[in-house]
C-alpha cells in the first residue's frame, strides 16, 4: 500500500474505490436510481439474457449511468425472452421483450437517458414483476 499523503489524494482514492462499492451503495437506496431487472430463468438464460445483462452492466458503467441491474426469476413472458423490466426513479416500471444487444443499446440511449419510449414494450398491469 502506498501512503496517502494529502486530503486531495484521499479524495481521489475515495473516488477510485467507491466504484467497487457502488453495487452495494445503490442497492441500499435503489429508488434513487434506475432499476433494471433482467429475467434470468432457464428460458431467459437460453435466449441470451445473461449476455444482455453483462452488456447492460458494462455499458451503463461506461456511459456513466447510475443504475441497479438485478436478475430476477421467470417473468412469465417466455415467448418474449429475453425480457427486462426498467423502472426510472419516480415512474412506473416498464417491461421490454425480445431484448437483444441492439435493443438494449437503444433502451439505454433513448429510454434511460431521455425517457423516450422504444418499441417492444409488453403491457403489464401490475406494480412490479416479482412481488
Amino acid at each position: 500500500m502506498t501512503k496517502i499523503k494529502s486530503l486531495a489524494e484521499l479524495k481521489l482514492k475515495k473516488e477510485e474505490l467507491e466504484k467497487k462499492l457502488n453495487l452495494r451503495e445503490k442497492s441500499n437506496e435503489p429508488d434513487k436510481y434506475i432499476q433494471i431487472k433482467v429475467g434470468m430463468a432457464t428460458s431467459g438464460i437460453a435466449s441470451g439474457a445473461k449476455v444482455v445483462m453483462d452488456f447492460l452492466i458494462e455499458e451503463l458503467n461506461k456511459r456513466g449511468i447510475d443504475a441497479v441491474v438485478t436478475q430476477t426469476g421467470d417473468m412469465g413472458y417466455c415467448y418474449a425472452e429475453p425480457t427486462i423490466e426498467v423502472k426510472r426513479p419516480g415512474e412506473d416500471p416498464i417491461v421490454f421483450g425480445y431484448v437483444d444487444l441492439k435493443k438494449a443499446d437503444e433502451i439505454i440511449e433513448k429510454y434511460l437517458k431521455n425517457g423516450e419510449l422504444v418499441e417492444g414494450i409488453i403491457p403489464v398491469n401490475y406494480e412490479s414483476i416479482d412481488e
Partner: protein, 598 residues
C-alpha cells in the same frame, strides 16, 4: 470483455452469527461459486453484524437486497444455483412477517429495520471490516482529512459541541465539553482512550461496531487526538472479544500502511498512533478511572474524582476517554455537520442510540433508533413484541445498574433524562424485556448477583452492602422474608447509592429500588402471602392435586422421586408439602390435568 462482479453475497461475520457457523456458510458459498464458475461474477463478502441476531446467520444478496435469515452452510448450494444463477429467491430462507405471515425479501420492509436510523452502525453489515478500501469508499477518513487540513482543534471541538453529542457509554456527559476540558489541560503528553470494555450483560453494540467497522473508531480517535492535542491513542478492550481484537489489529495495520495513522498523517504534520490494551473482563473497568488503573497495570478499581481523567488520567496525563459508540458518531458528524446531527433526536438528546434487545422479545438483536423513540416503538414495532404472545411486564434498561420500567413508562421518549426520571437510566443501551412469567424479586436478585460478582471490593457499601442486599433478596425468594427485610432493603439500597465510591455502587441498587417501586405487590406477596405469582421462586411454589380431576391412576405417586404422593388406586391422591422437592415430575406425568401449581 472482462467479467464484471455483478453480485455481492454479504455474510454476517459478527460473533453471534459466527457462533452459528457463518464462517462455514461463507466458505460454502465461495465453494459453490467456484464450482459453477462464477467467481468473477459474484463475490462473497464478510461483513459485521446486521443487527437482526434473532434470525442469524444472515446472508444478504446485493444488488437486489435479498435478506436471507437463519442460513445454514448447507443452504449455500441452493442460494447459488437458484438465486445467483437463476435469479430466483430462495423463499424458504426469507423472513416471514409475523403479522401477515408473508415472506419479506428486502430488509427495509421489515418491522425490525423500518424505524431504525443507522449512524453508528452505518457500516455494520455493509462493508468488509477487514478491508480498509471499503471503509475509504464510504467516506472513510474523510472527516479526519477535513479536520487536519481545514480546521483548528477548536473548530473540531465546536462541531462536536454544537452537535449535542453526549457520551454513549452510560453517563451521557457532553462529548464536546469533555474534549474541550482535555484540550485545556496543559501537559506535554496527552492520551485518547477508547473504552471498549463493554460489560453490561446482554449489551454488545461496542463489540459489533469494532467487529463490523473498526476503522470508524480509529478515525474518530485520531480526530479526538488532534482536537485535544494528543498523539497517542489506546483502546482498552476486553480480551474475551477476540474477533474484535483481530479486526482492530488488522485495521490499525492497514491505517498505518496508508499513512492514516503514524507520523505526518495526510501530510499535515499531525502524528497519531493507536495501541491496544487488554482487559480481563471486569465490569468495573468500564468506569474510566478503574479502566485507566487497569491500563497502567494496577488493580482495576476506581479512584475518587476529581481529579477527572481529562486533567489527570493515564500515567497522570490528561486523558480523554470515550466509548466505542460515541466515537462511531464522530466522523459522520464532522462529514455532515453538527446541524445534521442535531436535527436527529430530541431537544435534550441528539442523534441516535444503539440498543441491544434481549429477553422475552421476538426480535432479539441490535438496533439503532433516534433519541426520543418510545419504548413502545422499540419493543413492539422494532422488537416485534413479546415472545409467544405473552404479556409485557417490564423492561430493564441501563444494564445491571438500570431500573425496571413498566407498562406505564412505555410511551416516554427514550432520552438520558427521561429514563433517569422514570427511575432507570440509558446506560450503554442494554434492554432486557420481561414478560408475565418473570418474577421481579428474582429479577432484582439476578442483577444483584451480577453486581456482587463484579464489585471491585474497594469501598465498603458496595463490597458488603450489595452482598447483603443479595442475601435479603435470597431470603425473600425462599419465602423466609419479613416486612422488616423490606425496610432493610430500602435503607440499604439508599445508603449504598448515597455512599458508594463509583458509578457501579451508586447505581447497583437501582434494580431493587425500581422493582420495589413498580412491583411492590410482588414483594408483598412473597413476604406476606408467601407466594410467587409468576411461579419462578421454587420455594414458594406448591404442587397440589385437583381432586375433581384426579382419577387415582397412581402415575404421579409411582414417579415421584421422594415418594411424597400418597393415595389408593382410584382414590384422590395427596402431595405431602413438607417432603415435596418441587421437581415437577408429577405435573409432567399426570395425564388428567390433576396437578396444579399454586
Amino acid at each position: 470483455m472482462a467479467q464484471q462482479i455483478k453480485m455481492h453475497l454479504l455474510v454476517c461475520g459478527g460473533t453471534g452469527c459466527r457462533a452459528s457457523e457463518s464462517d462455514q456458510i461463507q466458505a460454502s458459498l465461495e465453494h459453490e461459486l467456484k464450482v459453477h464458475g462464477l467467481e468473477n461474477e459474484a463475490k462473497v463478502v464478510t461483513t459485521g453484524c446486521f443487527g437482526f441476531c434473532e434470525k442469524g446467520p444472515i446472508v444478504k444478496v446485493i444488488p437486489d437486497n435479498t435478506f436471507y435469515v437463519q442460513v445454514k452452510p448447507g443452504d449455500a448450494r441452493e442460494i447459488v444455483e437458484e438465486h445467483v444463477i437463476k435469479g430466483r429467491k430462495v423463499e424458504r430462507l426469507l423472513y416471514t412477517d409475523p403479522e401477515n405471515k408473508e415472506h419479506v425479501a428486502d430488509s427495509k420492509h421489515m418491522g425490525f429495520y423500518r424505524k431504525q436510523i443507522r449512524i453508528a452502525l452505518r457500516n455494520c453489515g455493509f462493508i468488509d471490516p477487514e478491508n480498509v478500501d471499503e471503509y475509504l469508499a464510504r467516506d472513510g477518513y474523510q472527516a479526519l482529512g477535513k479536520v487536519l487540513s481545514e480546521m483548528t482543534p477548536e473548530d473540531a471541538i465546536k462541531i462536536i459541541k454544537d452537535s449535542g453529542l453526549r457520551g454513549r457509554g452510560g453517563g451521557g456527559f457532553p462529548t464536546g465539553l469533555k474534549w474541550e476540558i482535555t484540550r485545556k489541560s496543559v501537559a506535554e503528553k496527552k492520551y485518547v482512550v477508547c473504552n471498549a470494555d463493554e460489560g453490561d450483560p446482554g449489551a454488545f453494540m461496542d463489540r459489533s461496531i469494532l467487529e463490523g467497522d473498526p476503522h470508524v473508531v480509529l478515525e474518530a480517535m485520531a480526530i479526538c487526538g488532534f482536537a485535544i492535542g494528543a498523539d497517542a491513542g489506546l483502546i482498552y478492550i476486553r480480551a474475551e472479544y477476540p474477533l474484535a481484537i483481530k479486526r482492530l489489529k488488522i485495521a490499525i495495520d492497514q491505517a498505518r500502511n496508508y499513512g492514516l495513522l503514524g507520523n505526518d498523517i495526510l501530510g499535515t504534520g499531525f502524528n497519531f498512533d493507536i495501541e491496544l490494551r487488554y482487559g480481563a473482563g471486569a465490569f468495573v473497568c468500564g468506569e474510566e478511572t478503574a479502566l485507566i488503573h487497569s491500563m497502567e497495570g494496577s488493580r482495576g478499581e476506581p479512584t475518587f474524582k476529581p481529579p477527572f481523567p481529562s486533567v489527570e488520567g493515564y500515567l497522570g496525563k490528561p486523558t480523554n476517554v470515550n466509548n466505542v459508540e460515541t466515537f462511531a458518531n464522530i466522523p459522520p458528524i464532522i462529514n455532515k455537520g453538527s446541524e445534521w446531527f442535531a436535527a436527529i433526536g430530541t431537544a435534550r438528546a441528539k442523534g441516535t442510540k444503539v440498543f441491544a434487545l434481549a429477553g422475552k422479545i421476538n426480535n432479539v438483536g441490535l438496533i439503532e433508533v433516534p433519541m426520543g423513540t418510545t419504548l413502545r416503538e422499540v419493543i413492539f414495532e422494532i422488537g416485534g413484541g413479546i415472545k409467544d404472545g405473552k404479556k409485557f411486564k417490564a423492561v430493564q434498561t441501563g444494564g445491571p445498574s438500570g431500573g425496571c420500567l413498566t407498562e406505564k413508562h412505555l410511551d416516554i421518549p427514550i432520552e438520558y433524562d427521561t429514563l433517569i426520571a422514570a427511575g432507570s437510566m440509558m446506560g450503554s443501551g442494554g434492554m432486557i424485556v420481561m414478560d408475565e412469567d418473570d418474577c421481579m424479586v428474582s429479577v432484582a436478585k439476578y442483577y444483584l448477583d451480577f453486581t456482587v460478582e463484579e464489585s471491585c471490593g474497594k469501598c465498603s457499601p458496595c463490597r458488603i452492602g450489595n452482598k447483603r442486599l443479595h442475601e435479603i433478596l435470597e431470603t425473600i425468594t425462599k419465602g423466609q422474608g419479613t416486612m422488616e427485610d423490606l425496610s432493610k432493603l430500602k435503607n440499604l439500597s439508599h445508603v449504598i447509592k448515597d455512599t458508594s465510591l463509583c458509578g457501579l455502587g451508586q447505581t447497583s441498587p437501582n434494580p431493587v429500588l425500581s422493582t420495589m417501586e413498580n412491583f411492590w405487590d410482588e414483594y408483598i406477596s412473597h413476604v406476606v402471602d408467601k407466594k410467587c405469582t409468576s411461579g419462578v421462586c421454587k420455594s414458594l411454589m406448591r404442587y397440589v392435586i385437583i381432586p375433581e380431576n384426579c382419577i387415582g391412576c397412581m402415575a404421579c405417586a409411582r414417579n415421584c422421586p421422594v415418594n411424597c404422593i400418597t393415595g389408593e388406586r382410584k382414590q384422590v391422591h395427596f402431595i405431602d408439602q413438607d417432603t415435596c422437592i418441587k421437581c415437577g415430575t408429577c405435573l409432567e406425568k399426570c395425564k388428567f390435568n390433576a396437578i396444579a401449581i399454586i
